[in-house]
Amino acid sequence: MYGGGNVFERMKATALVDEDPRKLAEFEARIERGEKIEPKDWMPQLYRKQLIRMIEQHAHSEIIGALPEGTWITRAPGFKRKLALMAKVQDEVGHAQLLYAAAETLGKSREKMIDDLITGKSKYSNIFNYPAFTWADSCFISWLVDAGAIVNQLANAKGSYGPYCRALERICAEESFHLKYGHHCVIHMATGSKKQREMMQAAINRWWPPMMHFFGPSDTISVHSEILMKWKVKMASNDACRQQFLDMYVPKIWELGLTIPDKNLQKNNETGQWEYTEPDWDEFKRVINGDGPCNKERLAVRRTAEERGRWVREALLAPKTKYITPLA
């Protein structure tokens, strides 16, 4: 699960000066033709750097994203929900594995990426810094946070880097189970007992603001983002993803008789765009920089898992083994 709002590296004006213009032109022509870039191909340093950063953030978001829903893994009601939630959270861990593997083909080792996650050096999707108070919160995440992620991931799957696209293809196939499962849960809550409905409505009220943050603030138009778009690293603007999400899911929330805590939320029939109260971007920044309700816990859990698993990995690690970058 991953939203927009990627924190891309700031580009220096000279970033492309050192690149061979002939190779750069070939590279850009290949992308222009709609062909994928594969690991052994020549690529500009900036492309490599930005991709590593983006895929790595995506991978971190999956592994950290397993935690809020994991909160309810031992308490899911009934066999069907119990099995599905176990499988769903497992898929998130699996997605992290696939994405780390894609980033590895660009030359950064998985352990280094995990190290950068647990030392706080690299970011993950902000929404996972919020707590899942009740079972209904886990239903919200399974349905709507995953829905948001799918909007973003389907766009990225059309990007230019082969290994990332292949990982996303596998991921999107699994996400369709998440989405249906999540929707199924929310439908049962919303059409169930008074208590269930109240739980579901409360969860929506809690999660709507972070959901609006999920795709990131409006993109500023810059040379930088133009290049990333041209190279098919960034595939859609944050606002376009947010609009698509609202278009697909607001009616589905409303049809269940649930409300959304934004009195300004409505579709403008002339422009075809959704209007909404501007999200609190100061809060977004504050949380991304570490001051959210669960930042500390999420990283602490990840660190502890790493730390307490170390003896296992050390025991598995035969001294003869040597790491080389995977192929594709």
Binding site: R33, E35, I37, E38, K40, D41, L67, G70, T71, I73, T74, K80, A84, A87, Q97, L98, A101, E104, S109, R110, K112, I114, D115, I118, P131, A132, F133, G162, C165, R170, F177, L179, K180, Y181, H183, I187, A190, T191, L256, E297, L299, A300, V301, R303, T304, E306, E307, R310, R313, E314, L316, A318, T321, K322, Y323, I324, T325, P326, L327, A328
Partner: protein, 205 residues
């Protein structure tokens, strides 16, 4: 101790100090294995991704769950240590990489090699077949002379047959699953009736 809404986290008993430090003090990176899956008798093995593992047995264990846990899409699985695969250059989409190889195949049968082809950028490598040759370079030449190429081959992977760890035929039952495994699939979550009934009920009120 760290207090969490997740009872599992509370049971981890994470001291707040540990939460703040516990930096990894050294990198414990495993080597990687490339994973290939066969979905049907008449389909070739296809590359699906990698796993990190300390040896091929464990790579197999891990690959089975990471890539084939929705069991019905697999009849056989193999893993190959990444460093044992020799990779050719990539060619442009319309060019055949074999055309760039110079030299004559020795005809020697010192080793047995398995060959994988990539036909389109962005797709996965697929198993092509087996050749005999004296070394990796020779195997590429043998492959060039052996396989008909209706479509240009963009990239070739070659590996010694002995370096492939593949599931036994008798292990096919590893992928037998219960019908009830559907809980992992989207198809198992239909609820349109429930929405319809809900809407009708609201309409009555």
């Amino acid at each position: 101790m760290l207090k969490s809404l997740d009872p599992r986290v509370n049971r981890l008993n994470i001291p707040l100090e540990e939460a703040a430090h516990a930096q990894k003090n050294k990198l414990d990176q495993f080597e990687t294995y490339e994973v290939f899956v066969q979905t049907k008798e008449d389909k070739p093995f296809e590359h699906v991704g990698i796993v990190h593992a300390p040896n091929e047995e464990m790579a197999f264990l891990f690959a089975k769950e990471q890539y084939t846990r929705r069991g019905m899409f697999c009849i056989s699985l193999c893993v190959i240590k990444t460093e044992n695969i020799r990779v050719s250059d990539y060619s442009e989409n319309q060019k055949d990489i074999y055309d760039t190889f110079e030299g004559k195949y020795s005809g020697k049968t010192t080793y047995s090699f398995e060959v994988f082809h990539l036909i389109k950028r962005g797709k996965q490598h697929k198993y092509e077949g087996n050749v005999q040759a004296k070394n990796f370079e020779d195997a590429l030449l043998a492959a060039r002379d052996t396989y008909p190429r209706n479509k240009p081959v963009l990239n070739v992977w070659v590996v010694k047959s002995e370096d492939i760890f593949v599931s036994d035929e008798e292990d096919q039952d590893l992928w037998d699953t219960l019908q009830e495994k559907k809980y992992r699939d989207a198809i198992d979550y239909r609820a349109a009736d429930k929405i319809k009934a809900f809407k009708e009920k609201q309409h009555e009120h």
